[in-house]
């Protein structure tokens, strides 16, 4: 089909903009996931709509017709949001898992320095076996790593985890994080109350406690996001 350039009148441009903005607002309200990821989706859809409208007007459609056609071709906001739901859920679960995995050693090292190192002879096997949270943390780390692997580039070779499985893993790791941090704080509080904290470094104790407390809202938010995902996704 022969293309011709159509110059939009200000009224037409405003109409196009209103229609597109209304669509994008509705879509934005339906998307579930991290704010940055949702914003990126909206930017990408907006760009696609602009291209589609430009193509429509260059083929002789009015701006209103081209906008309507572009939006119809994209699909209803509910359908587009549903199509994105899985990808956004996986994106969110992966973000949560990465954060919890990376903050684990940063928090754990202070508890290790506080509780384990002073009372142990420096023999790696003895020191590692004295970490109280290890039986809980080790399987959690394995699950998190497994889900990250089966939702990332390794899906080329491994069976892919579903968005639901990824959300389930994220909520589990969030719970483990919360439980381990609480346990460590209770151990420290018990020693302080019993008067057996004398051998502990107050500075390291303060840093370890602050690190664990600082992770509470973070782990809690991870659980909330994941539970919401599990409730609303299939």
């Amino acid at each position: 089909m022969a293309r011709r350039t159509v110059v939009k009148s200000p009224a037409e441009a405003k109409l196009e903009s209103q229609e597109v903005e209304h669509y994008l607002r509705t879509l934005g309200g339906q998307l579930r996931g991290p704010a940055r990821a949702r914003a990126a989706v909206i930017d990408e859809i907006r760009d696609g709509l602009d291209d589609a409208i430009a193509a429509g007007t260059s083929q002789g459609m009015s701006t209103a017709e081209a906008s309507e056609e572009a939006i119809a071709q994209l699909g209803a906001p509910q359908l587009v949001a549903a199509a994105f739901a899985g990808e956004l859920a996986i994106h969110q679960s992966r973000t949560i898992l990465w954060r919890l995995l990376l903050t684990g050693p940063l928090v754990g090292i202070w508890w290790f320095l506080l509780l384990v190192v002073p009372s142990q002879h420096i023999q790696p096997a003895t020191v590692i076996s004295a970490i109280p949270a290890l039986p809980v943390v080790a399987p959690a780390v394995m699950i998190a790593t497994g889900v990250l692997a089966t939702t990332g580039s390794l899906i080329r070779w491994l069976p892919e985890s579903s968005p639901r499985q990824a959300a389930l893993a994220a909520s589990l790791i969030g719970l483990v994080t919360l439980a381990v941090d609480t346990t460590m704080l209770v151990i420290l509080a018990t020693r302080v109350l019993n008067g057996t904290a004398g051998s502990l470094s107050p500075i390291i104790a303060g840093i370890a406690a602050a690190a664990s407390i600082g992770r509470f809202p973070f782990a809690g938010a991870a659980i909330c996001h994941s539970v919401r995902r599990l409730m609303f996704s299939r």
């Binding site: 696609g48 994209l74 199509a83 994105f84 580039s153 080329r156």
Partner: protein, 116 residues
């Protein structure tokens, strides 16, 4: 031309998207248009379902995207990675084998042969 049901594309969409990126990077809309025009209008999909498929291909490492700003518009451009190129080659080989076998079975046979 017979209309193509969207579910007929299930399992082949990834290969189609990789194939339209073979010649160079494209933006989302250009990819969708390339699938539409490249199939002679047979694959006229709802574009909203293509973007999540592109995101999944990126997550798998078959394509890579980068954002850039042109004339004040944020645009996302997709390009095939080396893994994607290899995957496309493998998909092509599988498709040739599959379509040859299906064509051999489905093609209309001459009247006497159809009876035997």
């Amino acid at each position: 031309m017979l209309p193509m049901r969207p579910e007929a594309l299930k399992g082949h969409l990834d290969a189609l998207l990789l194939s339209v990126l073979e010649d160079g990077p494209r933006h989302g809309y250009a990819i969708i248009e390339a699938v539409r025009t490249g199939s002679g209008g047979t694959f006229d999909l709802q574009t909203g379902t293509i973007y999540p498929a592109l995101h999944r291909l990126e997550r798998a490492g078959y394509i890579a995207s980068r954002w850039h700003v042109i004339g004040g518009r944020r645009r996302r451009e997709y390009d095939l990675t080396a893994s994607g190129r290899r995957a496309l080659g493998a998909e092509r080989a599988i498709w040739v084998q599959f379509s040859t076998a299906v064509s051999a079975l489905l093609q209309e046979k001459p009247w006497p042969a159809a009876l035997s």
